[in-house]
Symmetry: D2
Subunit: 340 residues, 4 copies
């Protein structure tokens, strides 16, 4: 850690900072510049909280120089992690698409959806039984019955299932229905109690980025899961909140190369929630894969106009098929394979 | 609801929209303009989700014209709601300050804090037993023992207590310790399961604004609590996330007059988390009260340099006393009273 | 335009709105809903400013339903516009890459740069003679001598030149040096005097998006140029400002399909200023083309480590060549050609 | 400057950084930590651009530790600067209100406005002859005739005038009409050519913050003016752009204590453009003064419903009078005087 003292800092003030550093078992090295004194804290700086030094008299700024995340950091694990989801690989050279409806509605809808997912060559299926909705007066998901319908429809097509967990009290039922991948939604990215619970499992977790979470906070949220022992984490960029109102969120495509640099874990994008409109999905999906993403979480509905939820962002089975063709071609340019 | 059709919309497309409106039991009125056709849906438009119309062919945009919130809306309840927290009123002419340390540390620290709160003329005390922290490697709060320490120290000075609930599973213990006001933190504003649970109680709830929640989403989050039967809600603006990096968050002072217009419920601000630095607290507190806030949630520590958490943002007991003097004078200008 | 009256609006208040609409020569149609009255203004609504109605008593909200831009809007000009820059086409099926150094430094550097641009198969060259810099104490560009050096180096390789105009007083010199494409920088997007001046020319203009400009403001800025008679406009997305601090800006890749829907004019991206780091450029460039952009404005320097300005974001001649290969392959998947 | 090397940096890479530092005439000091090596550059670090080091091999991050602004910095000029505008002081203990209409319309309107400004006890008058408007199809200001009308109306009441300059070519006319304070608008904050021109004058300049400018960029923009010799600068916070759509901008009240800490120059706020609605103006004005602002720039119109521009944000003469009463009382609490 680097502590910059202000121009008028006294010797006593410098001494106090040094003693605080030593209290935590680190060494201090002092450099007197022409304008300011800089103190370096040498040792395991994760033990030092910059805020505990920031308010000491004479301190201008205290900054970490070591990244606060460790298990998820590529710095400590240079090779790409490849996860295996029931035989389907993701990470490294392997790209996976996850598709299906926003929410589980009926057995019939799920049956059609599963068939369409399979027909498009997609290997993993998504669907929500519990929906976090802005208004208490709109459809909130069909609940546990939905898990049942989803499991059955997916099993018929041999598809592993991905579904969102939003309440720690639902976990037992999720395990009972053998959910293959647990999704942590954007509103739960910093629900630390939930992160700790999924951290105790071995099931892969898709961790969506919070609506306005920084990359660093996102990596730290993953570190909560990883520090519990579950290293099977997939990051999912789903658009961030900005001043623009034309579309719901801005897909942060820059986050893809950045995460690939900072972490060894797979990174996917959700083009459906990012833009919020079906007509944007193909363009955003191509952009994500071209930028190096390891996959997509993309909403498809057998009949979007009749969807009970987010009807405006689901693509049709035919659109999914066409999209897969383009994505396969782009993956090839990058020396990667898709949906193996 | 207003549905704007695009320039090239056909009669069939207009008919489809009309039939969807009628399916939900509303009436449709069609206005043909020089450039575009506009369809009005007349009736209880809360039953119509704009997204379900947005993706119909020929539709350019579907917009609500009635506010999506109802119980919390001033439109339906013009008079200010005044809440009574163990005899201390908030709302209408009554301003209340809530103060205390960021986190509960030791019985001694809580004893000193409670005395300082009381000495400053503040009537309500805050303190966190469970702390949501960005990193899993930093101090996470002392847990239930903290509730015990807090309750005891506050009781000695006759102060009602305000503390954060971040896990539904903690609720029983909170009730056991007779927590007087439950705080829902910024990361939990859209933890809808948690909101539903506190919605079943009668205990007042301070609902902090999400880091990047819009005013409308915030009002809808309150509506989750209110629709469960608990109308004892206090909104707390705590700074929003922007591009500025000099300080942690931007205190959205404009949200105060806006909320006073949109809702009849009390609105307070948290100047400590907004700015993130103790030296900003007095200025932000004065601004909040001058803008019409019904109170403050302000961090004070008997010895800020030794605080275990957010040490850089707590003010001292003396600073709290001085601040109370200024705030009392500003309240008087606005015809209001403070800490009665 | 739609004017929503509030629940308690009186007949007189409705009448006043109606009379204001009629004053501007439009017709008013009144719909009384169960909760609110809605007034529609029928006619050329560009003549009505919503702000002039918003503050009338009883008005809750006044909203445009017709887009405020016209010449640049696809709504009025459905076919893609293809621009011809000295024989190189951009728009429709044609993609063009513009490359070169951030700033003109020396004749030698420009000569090497032009050769590298040509060698990579790129047809248009960029370079800045005047640099808008945050600090008055850093390098501000070499000025008019730079235009001279640039013109000469580019002419030797037969490359049209693209350079930024930031002061109306420089325009004569730009014309004298026969600048082929004028770039309006992000800080000048709403320098309306500058826009009006380039609006009187026939030279193609690259209009960069303001750092935090909405899509609508950007289209309106283009409308300033277009309404002066110059319809040769290319939009350039160069990253927007958000809360994220890991990189300089967030490349708004969603803006590409949105602009392609809203305007018939070409849309390119600047992957160099968006990310701010050379190692992100390839990923962002591929994402942009895959999302449907009509081109790139990408910084390349014969020796990035020695660049006088933005040294951290320029790619090398070799990297440019490799990038062109990938982009050509992606363009082909989309049925487009590059650098013809 | 501090340069942090990455974990795997080699001796050669460290040497290259050191040699670059020495090339600029600074000294280098090397500290080897347990995980990373940190290099300090000692000397006048304004000569070093972090971007020139960031891209050297092995460098993780290069950071300034000295503020990039100097003339405007309180660090180098600890005492408050008090400006004298035709006998009216601003800064230190002195608060000044600037009021008047958004735009100059007619001699009659300006006469009424000037009388209302005077009657409210306000000492400085504002009014715009040239208006930067988002759309080319809306009212753009009355132009130079407006300056004439403004000068005359203000002279009759003995009020110095404040008006916006948005084109360098208008400067002569501004001097001819003896404009007392030049306002640089939010869209021009980084119009560096304009800043340089007003930097050569002695006339006080109100520098509005860019719509999404950081505090640091804003201080640097002022440094452009100051480095030309004009130190008569007043900062004006006018709301920043965020994700919130209920109001136009978020008044960044936190910027007030921050600027008072970072600069010795006066800081005012514009509550009219911040909120964008007349009914918010009083609350925001009180908040600004309570937070320590040195003044306001507030729009008042003799008949807001008839205003030609921004009609929804102007307050009435009566509202201005009432506001002055509250502000005077708040100023007194802070030991300051208003409109002397």
């Amino acid at each position: 850690m680097i502590i910059v003292m202000n121009k008028t800092a006294t010797e006593e003030q410098i001494e106090l900072v040094v003693s605080r550093i030593k209290d935590k078992g680190l060494e201090a090295s002092i450099s007197k510049g022409t304008e300011k004194t800089v103190i370096g804290a040498v040792g395991d700086e994760r033990l030092l909280d910059p805020k505990l030094l920031d308010n000491l008299p004479g301190v201008e700024q205290a900054m970490h120089i070591v990244k606060p995340y460790k298990i998820v950091a590529r710095e400590w694990h240079p090779k790409d992690t490849v996860l295996d989801i029931k035989g389907h690989l993701i990470g490294g050279k392997h790209i996976q698409i996850v598709s299906g409806p926003c929410s589980v509605e009926t057995p019939e809808q799920m049956k059609k959806s599963a068939k369409a997912v399979k027909a498009a060559g997609v290997k993993l299926m998504r669907g929500g039984a519990f929906k976090p909705r802005t208004s208490p007066y709109t459809f909130q998901g069909v609940g546990f019955d939905g898990l049942e319908m989803f499991r059955k429809a997916a099993d018929n097509e041999g598809l592993p299932i991905v579904t969102e967990l939003l309440d720690v009290r639902h976990l037992d039922k999720f395990l009972e229905h053998k959910v293959d991948v647990i999704q942590i939604g954007t509103r739960s990215m910093q629900n630390f109690e939930l992160l700790r619970e999924v951290g105790t499992l071995k099931i892969p977790v898709i961790l969506k980025r919070g609506m306005s979470a920084t990359i660093s906070e996102w990596l730290m949220a993953a570190e909560y899961i990883a520090s519990g022992g579950n290293h099977n984490i997939i990051f999912c960029e789903r658009g961030i909140r900005t001043f623009e109102t034309y579309y719901r969120n801005v897909l942060d495509v820059t986050a893809i190369p950045v995460l690939k640099k900072e972490t060894h874990l797979p990174v996917i994008i959700d083009p459906s929630h990012a833009g919020g409109k079906a007509w944007m999905v193909a363009a955003l999906s191509r952009a994500g894969i071209a930028a190096g993403a390891d996959g997509l979480l993309v909403e498809m509905h057998p009949n979007p106009c009749e969807a009970w939820c987010d009807a405006d962002q689901a693509i049709t089975p035919t659109e999914l098929k066409d999209l897969m063709k383009d994505l396969t071609a782009i993956a090839k340019i990058l020396g990667r394979n898709i949906s193996n």
